[in-house]
Symmetry: D2
Subunit: 345 residues, 4 copies
Amino acid sequence: MINVGVVGATGYAGAELVRILTGHPDVNLTILTSRQYAGQPFESIYPAMKGLIGLDCETYELARVCDKADVIFMALPHKLPMTFVPDLLKNGKKVIDLSADFRFSDPDKYESVYQPHTSKELLSQSAYGLSEVFADQIKQAQLIGNPGCYATCILLPLYPLIKEGLLDTSSLIADAKSGASGAGRALSLTTHICEMTESFKAYKVTGHRHKPEMDEILTAAAKTPVDMTFIPHLLPMARGMESTTYASLKKNITSREIRDCLSDYYAGCPFIRLHEHGKAPDTAHVRGTNFCDIGFVLEETRNRIVIMSVIDNLGKGASGQAVHNMNLMLGLDETAGLHAIPYPV
Amino acid sequence: MINVGVVGATGYAGAELVRILTGHPDVNLTILTSRQYAGQPFESIYPAMKGLIGLDCETYELARVCDKADVIFMALPHKLPMTFVPDLLKNGKKVIDLSADFRFSDPDKYESVYQPHTSKELLSQSAYGLSEVFADQIKQAQLIGNPGCYATCILLPLYPLIKEGLLDTSSLIADAKSGASGAGRALSLTTHICEMTESFKAYKVTGHRHKPEMDEILTAAAKTPVDMTFIPHLLPMARGMESTTYASLKKNITSREIRDCLSDYYAGCPFIRLHEHGKAPDTAHVRGTNFCDIGFVLEETRNRIVIMSVIDNLGKGASGQAVHNMNLMLGLDETAGLHAIPYPV
Amino acid sequence: MINVGVVGATGYAGAELVRILTGHPDVNLTILTSRQYAGQPFESIYPAMKGLIGLDCETYELARVCDKADVIFMALPHKLPMTFVPDLLKNGKKVIDLSADFRFSDPDKYESVYQPHTSKELLSQSAYGLSEVFADQIKQAQLIGNPGCYATCILLPLYPLIKEGLLDTSSLIADAKSGASGAGRALSLTTHICEMTESFKAYKVTGHRHKPEMDEILTAAAKTPVDMTFIPHLLPMARGMESTTYASLKKNITSREIRDCLSDYYAGCPFIRLHEHGKAPDTAHVRGTNFCDIGFVLEETRNRIVIMSVIDNLGKGASGQAVHNMNLMLGLDETAGLHAIPYPV
Amino acid sequence: MINVGVVGATGYAGAELVRILTGHPDVNLTILTSRQYAGQPFESIYPAMKGLIGLDCETYELARVCDKADVIFMALPHKLPMTFVPDLLKNGKKVIDLSADFRFSDPDKYESVYQPHTSKELLSQSAYGLSEVFADQIKQAQLIGNPGCYATCILLPLYPLIKEGLLDTSSLIADAKSGASGAGRALSLTTHICEMTESFKAYKVTGHRHKPEMDEILTAAAKTPVDMTFIPHLLPMARGMESTTYASLKKNITSREIRDCLSDYYAGCPFIRLHEHGKAPDTAHVRGTNFCDIGFVLEETRNRIVIMSVIDNLGKGASGQAVHNMNLMLGLDETAGLHAIPYPV
């Protein structure tokens, strides 16, 4: 049994980590921190957990965290992790950070959309936690930059096709839609139920911070600069994300070749589920899980491919993938703790 | 490992059984029947289960079902089970029936709201599957009449208080609210999303069939005829049920005595969670689980108690309780397969 | 054309007033105040109104408000109106206050649930704005205390029956359910869409501030002290309110007599729609309107009546009723500006 | 006052027509037909209309319809109108058909996605009812083919830009999302609330019937064959439609030029609301109205424009536009009956 802790346990990603780790057969959840709720039982903040967890929330203290846990999940807003993580690593801990702080290789790209980076030296050590794609690096790493939810949803189907050189990289357009939990638990008019009822809209249309994260990964895969169009939208629901991604094909290929490219790349990957040509995946079918379901259509007359991928933004898009990465880092069964079966309705 | 089958696997209660049983550590799910979808892979009907189950739906055939399974869950509309169950029992099978066919002791009561009963002789053998209340009978039974969802939600908090003689039985009023999955997967305008958006209403206000089921149980507990007021309402959501139940007190008691009555009765019951006085439970906190969360308020100036109880109508209100009953019948750990932790959001 | 203003125009009740008054044939909307959004165009706060209104929000200033408007709607939190209203009345203005500040006759009752009242002398002058019931007083008044949404929904069907002496006042129980807009636009976790998805629960179960408001009105109607049970619940939707209200009958009466009592009392009232016995009203059918739809069931064996009433909590429960009261005060057609036809879906 | 009738009044588009026409100052609604509900009061089918309409539904009979109405709205599934409309026209009636039967100029295009057309000769007489674009033709026509909802939402912003030659027509991609009312009132699992809760997905990804309708209009505007990519998605809500439409620019232009092109084209059009560059429109802000709100982003580094447009699929996407077209045909104020102000929430 490995001792693990969650720093920032009372946000939605943190609470989902608590849920998954509580049911994980190989770990003990030993410490939860929360600035806002320090001193309060976690189950008083999330009554859904009543009787299922005995821990109280604590203020973050380095020595206490290091004493209690060997693997630490950071579920804080970006900017805070870069101040905490160096000391955790010095104490020999493994860290999985769900913020953007350790996702980038290039600090300039990070700083172009976030703020000055105070731990740049760690960027070369951290692995980008897109579990299926970078499993080898993840297994070796002490520090994981867990991907953004949009990046996870869009990159998973795109990466193998770009890597294989099948797509015109200048044509990439990702039209993505997210449930409201992606905006977090912090209060804002945007997530007020009255404002979201019967509402659908695009947002951050002139630039969302997940775009440079995706461009960096795709640029490395394509070996040519990628500058995609990415338009996020807000769905009137809590959990679930879909991206419909459009690209022109570089050459004539069949739907069979597309499918083979994806199924070969993800052979043996238990959380990737590939639909047959022409069948669209549904966010409801991956809710509460670590699955990414992928469908596609080849538009032959227009020489274009349409890719549809769905994840649970809090699951595969955040906490599920973080636990998956922990499993890889620790050499556990990669599905440990992640056997949730989605609800039929 | 015990072989189990689900008859009527493609309705919502059936599919929820499939979900729970697929993750149950002590059973093999070996056969699924569905008249409508015979011959089709279950995962094509419920793509959420893609890759998680290999079974095809089959037409119900007695010999085949008996050959494949030792415990059979019946998730059919009432009237059908009474024709199938006698033969299953003759073949030595254990049967948990989710319809109303075996819930009543008194065939007249059944016939007053359903139709003529063709297997009346079995009513005295079947146990009423309100797991915590009738555990002793359930453990001995070959046949379980699994309670209605409303009955489960309303009876669990009420039963101990009535049994103890604390409530004026002539004053009972249950104002209950259910998510739409209680109406099943069959198509109707009522459950069309456009009709339910921003809609809330009472229904079957002149008589719902779960009422005589509750009256029969409470009459036995109270040792005096009970004829409660029961008004069900439809919530614009899929899963979840709440009942706010009102009763006058027979004598002066304190909130501490009420709480003790409930906590003593349900001592050691892992699925009953009792809130402190004045705190209302939330359907979201039991979603996807077998929990029943209970709260109450004692209105001293009005000599009245207000009880609030919540369940997932498909979980504790149907399939979760059915699996709980199987665990009791087979002498398994009663929580086996029922460890789902509710989502934080 | 009468000049009207809305003080506190950017909360939900204020914005609904703006919507209704913009379409009202007999008034000019001349001034909107908002502390938070002073200086900004109203349509930038509510883009739904883009192109439909030219006013900017202003800070409240007595002279300016009196200069611009002859009728003033106050849509502020309680406590503020009692400081503004005396000066408005001194300037000869008519005031319709949507807060609780002028709903009570008895200042002690107000102070028992709110705070010290600094304009007690006005309580005897203000009319309680339950339009159909107190139309005569409303027509004469300079100041209206517009009723709470719950009070409106529960009192409308109850008042005539209590007045007529048909109900046992000690038996009154109102189980009420409200959409989230009743909680207003101020941010809180309660109205975060993620917290409300698939959620239903009771709240303020040990005491809601609308209860003494209702008790005072019913006590006057019954000529005996009324102390009802009132349990509010929160619906996972934006607009709409239902109350299922239970009472024991004082004497044997028929459903026809009940219906006659209500239909006689509300004869000629265009916003009261009475359903036939046994038919439950639906919140969706009154959305966006000033209607109150009422249904009931007589439970003869239990000597009990079950009343179901629905309103739009922002319409009849707040801004619709406020405009209705203005129409009465000004001697306009009482339906002016209130002809909205509810959406079919 | 003009006498008007609705054929197929009980579907969602029909009922929305009834709602709008009931409040229209210049028309009398004189006849409603419905095969399914013939003989029943319309208000018993749509209780939201209780007390607001006195008409019963009738079976369609040519003589009766011609006797009662001079303008007839057809809100039937495609295929039926082509059999009814010729006789109505022969009787001198004006017809606005909401099906696809009279939207196409080219019968082959119609037949490629629907079925054999039995009134081809009428296609050259009918005007395509995209109100703002084809107002001149509409004013002259006896027969209108009212556009599909997707076509309305996508074509309104696209048409002027294509006409002006600003866009590379081979690059057009429309990623559109619709509320469930677009699927109509007929029962299907797709619109079961349990299937749609927390669900979002693409559908008909290999070909939706609105695509050739759009291609035909755009081909005429571009004077070159247009074959766009169109992927519709289903939103978990009742009313509202958004399209995010992508196109490459033919030449360097500024956002100001884009905006001018649109605002010049739609100058004086009361139902088109243009947002400033970079601001995304919201379906909630047009709910229940005939508005089309349009926003856009110019992506200069990628030489691409992203257009976002929203409508109410039952309003501007169906019945609102149909009434607008009637107003044009009859020479009425084009906004008559269409002054609905969207709800603030």
